[in-house]
């Protein structure tokens, strides 16, 4: 029996999702016979951790502070072993721009993109470069906040007149945004557990033309197919790419890599990596593990065993 603190909630926009992930993780850990303490992360986090003195912290946080290395840094400082990736990998995954640069440097295909801080527009006249960017990326262009998980703030600009509004929306979530070439295709996710690649999940939205935040977390809004119905070599290639991403970003414990598969060209491209993928009923990592014969409790038990400091 291990004393495990499950960190969840917090103040990020993904608070509700994290509360769901955390509650499920807590249940699993209790069933495994651990001594479990749930902590809704707030101002008293350090005091609570000192008070509880867990042997392990299970980080079930998503989004800002929880997934970007901040909480991990605190846990390092307090000497508490924790689940998932370390500080540096969290930083690399949480910032889509940094992640894409690492992928590009490692020769991993990722959609062409440009990224800017607000200052580039305010002080360097980056707006004048928009036509050139638009020409190179082609419409539609996907505009995203660099740091936001889920799909909040993601807009599709169908033409040049949509781009400024999409940028304004994306800047609502942080000071860095990404303009990315739109890849039409099938939405794939490859989860990894300790460098072991799990079966590919395909997410097929029922009605929406976009796999959005709602579809992602609402049961019954999206059909998930696992293992995805893909040609064998595509499955193998997707898994191979996911492992390359894992290595390039330095992930540990577990992670999820999101890809697009364009059937016409047969091309696979990597959109992003998630250092702390969701653990809700609709989340893809637990689904993939299940398809690999690893049930939720076993999955959570293994993640705890993989903790590090």
């Amino acid at each position: 029996m291990t004393r495990v603190a499950v960190l969840k909630g917090g103040r990020s926009l993904e608070r509700q999702v994290s509360l769901k992930s955390g509650a499920r993780v807590q249940d699993a850990l209790e069933r495994l016979g651990h001594d479990v303490i749930g902590i809704d992360v707030g101002h008293d986090l350090v005091a609570r951790l000192r008070d509880v003195a867990p042997e392990v912290a299970f980080v079930a946080l998503h989004g800002r502070d929880g997934e970007d290395g901040t909480v991990q840094e605190l846990l390092e400082a307090l000497g508490i072993p924790y689940t998932g990736s370390g500080v540096s990998a969290c930083i690399r995954c949480a910032d889509k721009v940094i992640a894409k640069h690492h992928m590009r440097d490692a020769g991993i295909p990722t959609p062409d993109f440009f990224a800017f801080n607000e200052t580039a527009f305010k002080e360097l006249g980056a707006a004048d470069a928009l036509p050139a960017i638009e020409e190179r990326l082609g419409f539609p262009i996907v505009v995203k906040p660099a740091g936001q998980g889920s799909a909040l703030g993601i807009k599709f600009a169908a033409s040049a007149k949509d781009v400024p509004g999409a940028l304004v929306a994306a800047f609502s979530y942080g000071d860095k945004v990404l303009l990315e070439r739109h890849i039409a295709g099938r939405d794939l996710a490859v989860s990894l557990l300790d460098r072991e690649v799990l079966p590919v999940v395909e997410a097929v939205p029922r009605e929406e033309n976009f796999y959005d935040f709602e579809a992602r977390y609402e049961i019954g809004r999206t059909d998930f197919i696992c293992p995805a119905d893909l040609p064998e070599e595509i499955t193998a290639r997707a898994q191979e790419l996911a492992l390359e991403v894992w290595d390039a970003l330095g992930c540990r414990g577990f992670a999820r890599v999101d890809l697009m598969y364009c059937e016409g060209s047969g091309e696979l491209t990597v959109l992003e990596a998630n250092a702390i993928p969701g653990m809700t009923e609709t989340s893809l990592l637990p689904m993939a593990a299940d398809a690999a014969g690893v049930d939720f409790d076993t999955l959570i038990g293994r993640i705890v065993l993989l903790t590090h400091l």
């Binding site: 969840k8 909630g9 103040r11 926009l13 993904e14 608070r15 509700q16 999702v17 509360l19 769901k20 955390g22 509650a23 499920r24 807590q26 249940d27 699993a28 209790e30 069933r31 016979g33 479990v36 303490i37 749930g38 902590i39 809704d40 609570r48 607000e118 527009f121 305010k122 707006a127 928009l130 909040l152 703030g153 781009v163 400024p164 509004g165 940028l167 304004v168 929306a169 994306a170 800047f171 609502s172 979530y173 029922r206 959005d212 935040f213 709602e214 977390y217 049961i219 019954g220 998930f224 009923e281 609709t282 989340s283 637990p286 689904m287 593990a289 299940d290 049930d295 939720f296 409790d297």
Partner: protein, 477 residues
């Protein structure tokens, strides 16, 4: 609805193992539950908004998002005295079931409240409900088959949206202007539907101090609406929670009193004149409809709380309910004025807003390149919240609008909250100016510069001619 519906506010405490461990969970649970869900759950909205709105309830947030009346001004001593009189005088009765249609003592109070607005009814004709919300649910339950048409206003009460969706209604929204629902647009829509061989099951309207629009249907429009529904034999659901909360102008007759009750189903509530905590509302309307609603209510909850019905009846017996409404009006009038002044001070000329003569809400329209759902994420960083306009539409409109509430927070918080929202709006207006090279952006949202705006989208709200920004030098006027 989540499967794990453990209260998220009680996490954090050590949870002990029970002697019978919960069944093991696998991701197959997803499919197992999803396979059991009714088709109507597929059209229920909307988790992103719900998750975002959940954040607005944090204690460190100034929330102009709620629709809460200020219950803190209710005197504690009166509350205690009324409660103990109920406890002593009606012990068994208050702890017992009551009739589905409600207790007679309460129905008499309801007749009194309606008379205050010039609407005279027979107390026997009232159906007491569990909040006004239940009336919306019961009307849908009584009238709506999947695919049936409901006519609503654009924007409409956000709380009605999930109800309409759960009955799988097709909702058509008719624009509002400063005189309320546009009856010309309504008639055109009815004609179009008639051509298709369809007719709406009912027309849902909040004619007085509309939520969220803040507008009030003018007397000529009320008369016209009554003519239209009489001629076409259509039902109206008149939702009137705020009618008694008028801060200026002359009271207007309810649609119910104008029409006579053949085609209007009236919805009233104690939530805004006394307390939403008592969960008591009511309906009056055509008898056959009310009878079906009564049966629907039996199926839902048998009866509303006897305890709170007796509480309200005892409160009315003390004879001071009008005084309390009067005191609320004083509080809300001041808060409304503070909010209007703050808007004039902190919001730029590219923004417009309604000037409600009563009620709890102001509807603000921003330039069409600002998406208020995204803006809310930014506003939450500044510890302030509002309701994004999208939640008042079923068709994706309203993206550049927001609803502000002035009843639920104090004057200082209203000033500070509006200032912070104004700041983030200004930030985005400037950024947009930088991005488009038009640093001083368009001053007339109602008359967009050609080519600059999608005029269809800009006109979509049909909202009141913008209350022009009141300059500091004009404010004494």
């Amino acid at each position: 609805m989540t499967i794990d519906d453990r209260d998220p506010r009680t996490p954090g405490e050590p949870r002990t193992m029970t002697s019978t461990p919960a069944p093991r969970q696998t991701s197959r649970d997803l499919e197992r539950y999803a396979g059991l869900f009714a088709a109507r759950t597929k059209v229920m909205k909307s988790s992103a908004m719900r998750d975002l709105m959940a954040l607005t309830e944090r204690s460190d947030i100034i929330s102009l998002a709620g629709g809460l009346p200020d219950t803190s001004s209710f005197p504690a001593a009166s509350f205690a005295a009324i409660m103990s009189s109920v406890a002593v005088d009606s012990t068994a009765r208050s702890l017992q079931y009551g009739p589905t249609e409600g207790l007679t003592v309460l129905k008499r109070c309801i007749a009194e409240v309606m008379a205050e607005e010039g609407t005279f009814i027979d107390a026997d004709d009232v159906l007491v409900t569990t909040g006004g919300q239940q009336v919306i649910d019961l009307v849908c339950k009584t009238l709506i088959d999947p695919g049936d048409v409901i006519i609503a206003e654009a924007p409409t009460y956000p709380g009605a949206v999930p109800t309409f969706c759960s009955y799988q209604a097709e909702v058509i929204q008719i624009g509002l202007d400063e005189d309320g629902m546009r009856i010309d647009e309504l008639e055109a829509t009815l004609d179009r539907l008639a051509d298709e061989g369809r007719r709406p099951k009912f027309i849902y309207t909040v004619p007085t101090f509309q939520n969220p629009g803040g507008t009030t249907m003018s007397l000529p429009r009320r008369r016209r609406l009554v003519e239209v529904v009489r001629k076409r034999e259509l039902l109206v659901l008149e939702d009137n929670p705020y009618g008694l909360l008028r801060y200026e102008g002359d009271p207007l007759p309810t649609l119910f009193s104008l029409e006579g009750g053949d085609f209007v189903i009236y919805l009233g509530t104690f939530s805004k004149i006394l307390s939403p905590g008592v969960r008591l509302g009511w309906s009056v309307g055509p008898r056959p409809v009310l009878e079906k609603m009564n049966i629907g209510k039996q199926a839902s909850d048998l009866c509303s709380s006897s305890l709170t019905q007796l509480f309200v009846a005892a409160y009315f017996e003390s004879g001071r309910w009008q005084d309390y409404v009067h005191s609320l009006k004083e509080i809300y009038r001041r808060r409304r004025d503070v909010m209007l002044d703050s808007l004039a001070e902190c919001f730029g000329p590219e923004c417009s807003w309604t000037h409600p003569q009563g009620g709890l809400f102001i509807w603000v329209t921003l330039p069409d390149y600002i998406d208020t759902t995204d803006l809310l994420a930014r506003a939450l960083d500044e510890h302030v919240a509002f309701v994004p306009g999208r939640s008042a539409f079923l068709d994706g409109r309203g993206a550049n609008a927001m609803r502000l509430n002035f009843s639920g927070v104090g004057e200082a918080d209203i000033r500070e909250g509006v200032r912070r929202i104004g700041e983030v709006v200004r930030e985005q207006v400037e950024l947009y100016g930088t991005l488009t090279g038009s640093h001083r952006v368009v001053a007339q949202p109602a008359e967009p510069a050609p080519g600059e705006f999608d005029s269809e989208l800009a006109n979509v709200l049909h909202l009141p001619a913008p209350e022009r920004r009141r300059r500091t030098d004009a404010r004494e006027g």
